[in-house]
Symmetry: C2
Subunit: 197 residues, 2 copies
């Protein structure tokens, strides 16, 4: 699809994730990338889905939307992995990635992605949950994957579309693209509602 | 991943599907495409998962594997959609595709892909099931999709990786790549067992 479904709006995407950029392009939406620098820190009492909701809104609120025309829609997002009641973000270095994948091995975890849509007049945050099941990973598979794919920008230290996702994810329950960091179907639906306000 | 995990084997892929070809490449497996012409007809009494199992084996058995070296592994596959106890294959023409998508609209269906691995000495067929849920599709969405994507080579008249999958699949339960026609994780596991025989 190449035609722009929302020619009357100006979209800003505040995300460095190439997966998000690609999926938004697939919808035919024209956007500009903007850089948002915030410390991704959240209050201790937040759990599961509350964390990416908080962080996606935090990113949106750190952007000077007031300097842009009224028809501007800013899109921010945050993805986390949630395993047995514990938060898993992006890994720090190889040691952190090895440890993360070791924890996910042989288990089912949850992935939450929250999206924040923000204009001058309105703000909407929604979150999607997908369950992802991994087979038991061998140390060789973990090291091979990390060395070849360097998953340091990814929550949980894996990409479902990478070699390790292809060979080791036994199944998911929910939206696949949510695991990639952008729940496209829900975004599409929410955008229709948001642009009617 | 670019290194070949099975250099001692010669792989033949008997499928025209570009999705299957792409996913097999992602695993680093080197293969040659072979053409297999069979009438994809199955006995009336078969149901659900039995149908692609029958058809993937039918394709394998139609190929003259005896003319190839003993270390050759032939891969064939078949994907069907199963909705409310009824078989859905590939659509015939635009009218057929419109009708199929109308039936899938607002419902959860099952996708079954069977893979047949065959060598001179061994044969193994396995099948994977994934549930796919569609939101209600408007006639405009159905026509837009069919006109732009021409899904005539796809069981159920849709590709989950296409525009309609992005915007209208609310969730899946099971393997995502199975819906694309190639259950990669299970294939990878089965191949490890098959090559040990």
């Amino acid at each position: 699809m190449t035609h722009n479904p929302y020619p009357e709006y100006r979209f800003l995407l505040g995300s460095k994730s190439p997966r998000r950029q690609h999926l938004l392009k697939e919808l035919g939406i024209h956007y500009e990338l903007v850089s948002i620098d915030v410390d991704e820190v959240f209050p201790d009492h937040l759990e599961g889905s509350e964390i990416p909701k908080y962080l996606s809104a935090l990113k949106a609120d750190a952007f000077p939307l007031i300097d842009y025309p009224p028809n501007t829609i800013l899109i921010t997002a945050d993805t986390i992995v949630w395993l047995e009641g514990k938060y898993i973000g992006k890994p720090e270095g190889k040691k952190g990635a090895v440890e993360m994948l070791g924890r996910l091995s042989g288990k089912t975890h949850e992935v939450y992605t929250a999206i924040c849509l923000k204009s001058r007049e309105a703000k909407r945050v929604f979150v999607i949950r997908t369950e992802v099941s991994f087979k038991t990973l061998s140390p060789e598979e973990i090291h091979f994957y990390i060395d070849h794919h360097r998953p340091y920008d990814k929550a949980g230290a894996y990409g479902i579309q990478d070699w390790i996702g292809l060979t080791s994810v036994t199944g998911i329950n929910g939206c696949y693209y949510n695991v990639m960091g952008f729940p496209v179907q829900r975004f599409w639906e929410e955008l229709q509602i948001f642009t009617k306000q």
